[in-house]
């Protein structure tokens, strides 16, 4: 048989001025399972908590409802109070008659009182159904997984590792650095992007608490809170990273040229390549899709060139497993494909490019060495038009939400174009 106690708080004038707290008590007393109901000026104060404890013992209460402020404010306070009187702390239920009633219905005391009574009735019903819960301790694997080696993943990994917790950092491309490595300057300070990023990349590679797993992807994760097993696919790089010195002779001799993703196709890279000179780790990988040896079985120039014998055409993808207690997802963003916007000339004119393509052009490390050029004829443009927010808030053919930082991108690009 449930025996519920209800404690209605005035919260000074916060509740009592707009809710008839006496009526709430009288109404509450009519509920069958309520054996005790009372109101008090400050229920969270020491005398208020004492009132609750005393009532629990004297009336042999089986659950407690406190009608007061939001549970975010004092749920913990009242849980502790009832446990001190011998009740399981999870048998407490809060009826939020302050934020949900008195504060929002200040012009209508009658309705606010009626609503408060309803909130209390609901809390009483729920408190009767509540079960005792007991806190347990679970061991947590002291190792974190960070997915993504962009600036967010790099900083997360460094912060965790600096606290002496081991980190597994998984990056899908051959090097960490992410989008920031492609940027020329940061907004709004116009600092050199590389100068902020590259030292941190080196920190990651040399940190004793960070295990960097490049050219790999997370393919599976199972387990429970604090105890996960993660499966990581190490993509075949066809280069033995432990013996490779990163001298770059293989890339120089490779006869295959393909569009360079890092510069969004505005120049070429080789089939065995490192994405950019400051890459970490600075080891090349073979692009199996374009390598002549791997596609046609003839060539083998890189293997002949490599003095360390690091090239291994027979390398296979490999699944490795790690145990971690926490996961940080820092997978970054993809560039929005603006091809539905023919009205802006996307796809129709070579000289309509994306902001990231422009960023690469104005970057000192970019395909044009820092000069924006027109892809159609290689000339320096006299005028540059910026189209902001392409695809933004366009339910018909774009993205329904606001892209939010287009203005920053535009301001920065404008500065780059004029300087």
């Amino acid at each position: 048989m449930a025996r519920v106690g209800v404690f209605v708080c005035f919260c000074g004038a916060n509740i009592a001025d707009f809710v008839d707290v006496n009526e709430v008590v009288e109404e509450t007393k009519k509920i069958k399972d309520v054996k005790f109901a009372i109101n008090y000026k400050y229920m969270c104060s020491d005398p208020g908590q004492g009132l609750i404890k005393q009532a629990i013992i004297e009336n042999k209460l089986t659950s407690v409802v406190v009608a007061a402020c939001s549970p975010r404010m004092h749920e913990k306070t009242f849980r502790r109070a009832i446990s001190e009187a011998g009740l399981n702390p999870f048998l407490l239920e809060i009826a939020n008659i302050r934020e949900h009633s008195s504060w929002v219905h200040q012009k209508d005391k009658k309705s606010a009182t009626a609503k408060s009574c309803d909130l209390v009735r609901m809390a009483v019903a729920k408190s009767i159904a509540n079960e005792q819960l007991h806190e347990i301790s679970v061991p947590v694997t002291k190792r974190a997984l960070v997915i993504g080696g962009g600036i967010a993943g790099i900083q997360a990994a460094l912060d965790i590792a600096d606290a002496h917790i081991p980190v597994v950092l998984v990056e899908k491309s051959p090097s960490i650095g992410g989008r920031m490595a492609q940027l020329d300057e940061t907004f709004p300070t116009l600092d050199c992007s590389q100068c902020i990023l590259t030292p941190r990349m080196v920190d990651v590679a040399t940190h004793p608490y960070i295990e960097l797993i490049p050219y790999s992807e997370v393919v599976g994760l199972d387990g429970y809170v604090g105890n996960y097993k993660v499966q990581i696919k190490k993509k075949a790089s066809y280069v033995n990273f432990s013996s490779c010195t990163g001298c770059g002779a293989c890339s120089q001799k490779c006869p295959v040229k393909v569009p360079n993703e890092f510069n969004l196709g505005h120049d070429k890279r080789k089939a065995i390549y490192s994405p950019f000179p400051q890459a970490v780790p600075n080891k090349p990988v073979i692009d199996a899709e374009h390598c002549l040896m791997l596609t046609k079985g003839k060539c083998g120039i890189c293997k002949k060139t490599c003095e360390k014998g690091s090239i291994d055409y027979d390398m296979k993808d490999e699944i490795i497993e790690r145990e971690v207690g926490a996961v940080v997802v820092a997978t970054g963003y993809e560039l929005y494909d603006a091809s539905p916007y023919e009205e802006y000339g996307v796809g129709r004119f070579k000289d309509v490019i994306s902001s990231l393509e422009f960023e690469r052009m104005v970057s000192a490390s970019g395909p044009t060495g820092g000069t924006p050029i027109r892809p159609s004829d290689g000339e320096i443009p006299k005028n540059v038009v910026f189209i902001k927010c392409v695809g933004s808030r366009d339910e018909a053919k774009g993205i329904e939400y606001c892209l939010k930082n287009m203005l920053h991108v535009h301001c920065k690009a404008r500065h780059a174009a004029t300087s």
């Binding site: 009205e343 018909a396 053919k397």
Partner: protein, 311 residues
């Protein structure tokens, strides 16, 4: 022989007779039999849908119900405005069966089932006939003719309802023209508003809106504008002398229906195109057919290719 239910709309029997006439010539060449809906009525046009939703849906609904009695799977509509009204009606009623039932009670010509697909004639030619078939029927290629394809506001919009081509930069008519051998120039005003029915109430609005379209088409290097909408044709053609006066320009830009050019390319006699209906004379532009187009642009692009190779 393929059969297509045909809804001409009021303009096809009046101001855009040449559209209706050449459409029939084209369909003959394409071996498509046009089944005109018996006793069809006005679509309601702008007047109905700005006044009452019920009437705006009931008028096209009656035509859709009558179309179902012909047992063809598709209904082709010549006029862009009629197309928009019928397409919107079908969209609204197919989405909401309760509304369909309610509107259905206002007519006594039968029950609506939603079994007939609604397409503009442009969409029918582009999707159901296809570019390959068109190419195979060309007897007189329109080589040397540069056209600016103008779609207006209704043929591809709103996208959720029309489900056809791009709402901002459509290319279907351009591709049809290219298939006939003509050159479709890049034309950024292809879906700008011509002023539509304000032609009657505030013709100054139409002069300014249509004027911009005409000027841009001229600047694009086109010999003529090609359209698939009777009101667009009438505004761009009939209002052109007014535009020339207002903007102090000489345009002399004929405005033809895409069906007229299809008919011409399919080998029908130029005399059969009802060219006498045009305000701006067409003959001079058509005389360019068969002559080599100016190759300025191509020479330039060739140069670029060479310089790229040199690099």
């Amino acid at each position: 022989m393929k059969k297509l239910t045909y809804f001409p709309g009021c303009s096809a029997h009046g101001t855009s007779e040449e559209f209706d006439h050449t459409l029939k010539l084209v369909m003959k060449s394409l071996e498509v039999e046009l089944d005109e809906i018996p006793d069809w009525n006005c679509c309601g046009a702008t007047s109905a849908h700005v006044m009452t939703e019920n009437l705006a849906l009931a008028l096209p609904l009656r035509n859709l119900v009558l179309a179902e009695t012909l047992h063809n799977d598709t209904m082709g509509i010549a006029c862009a405005s009629c197309y928009a009204r019928h397409k919107v009606t079908k969209y609204e009623l197919d989405k909401d069966p309760v509304l369909a039932k309610k509107i259905n009670t206002t007519i006594d010509d039968g029950t609506y089932h939603g079994s007939v697909e609604v397409k503009s004639m442009l969409q029918f030619v582009y999707e159901d006939i296809g570019i390959e078939k068109i190419k195979s029927l060309v007897k007189k290629p329109l080589t040397g003719l540069k056209v600016a394809c103008y779609y207006g506001c209704l043929l591809t919009r709103p996208k959720a309802i029309t489900q056809f081509d791009s709402p901002e930069y459509p290319m279907s008519m351009d591709r049809i023209m290219e298939a006939l051998g003509a050159t479709a120039v890049p034309f950024d005003f292809k879906t700008e508003c011509c002023g539509a029915s304000f032609s009657i109430s505030s013709s100054d609005v139409v002069l300014s809106l249509s004027g911009k379209i005409l000027e841009y088409a001229k600047a694009s290097g086109a010999d003529m504008i090609v359209v698939a909408c009777p009101l667009c044709q009438s505004n761009l053609d009939m209002r052109q002398p007014g535009v020339e006066k207002l903007f102090h320009v000489k345009l002399n830009l004929p405005v033809m229906y895409f069906t007229q050019l299809l008919a011409l390319a399919f080998g029908h006699d130029q005399k059969d195109l009802m060219l006498g209906k045009h305000i701006v004379p067409v003959e001079k532009a058509l005389a360019k057919i068969g002559k080599e187009p100016e190759k300025k642009e191509e020479i330039k692009s060739k140069k670029t290719v060479e310089s790229e190779e040199a690099k």
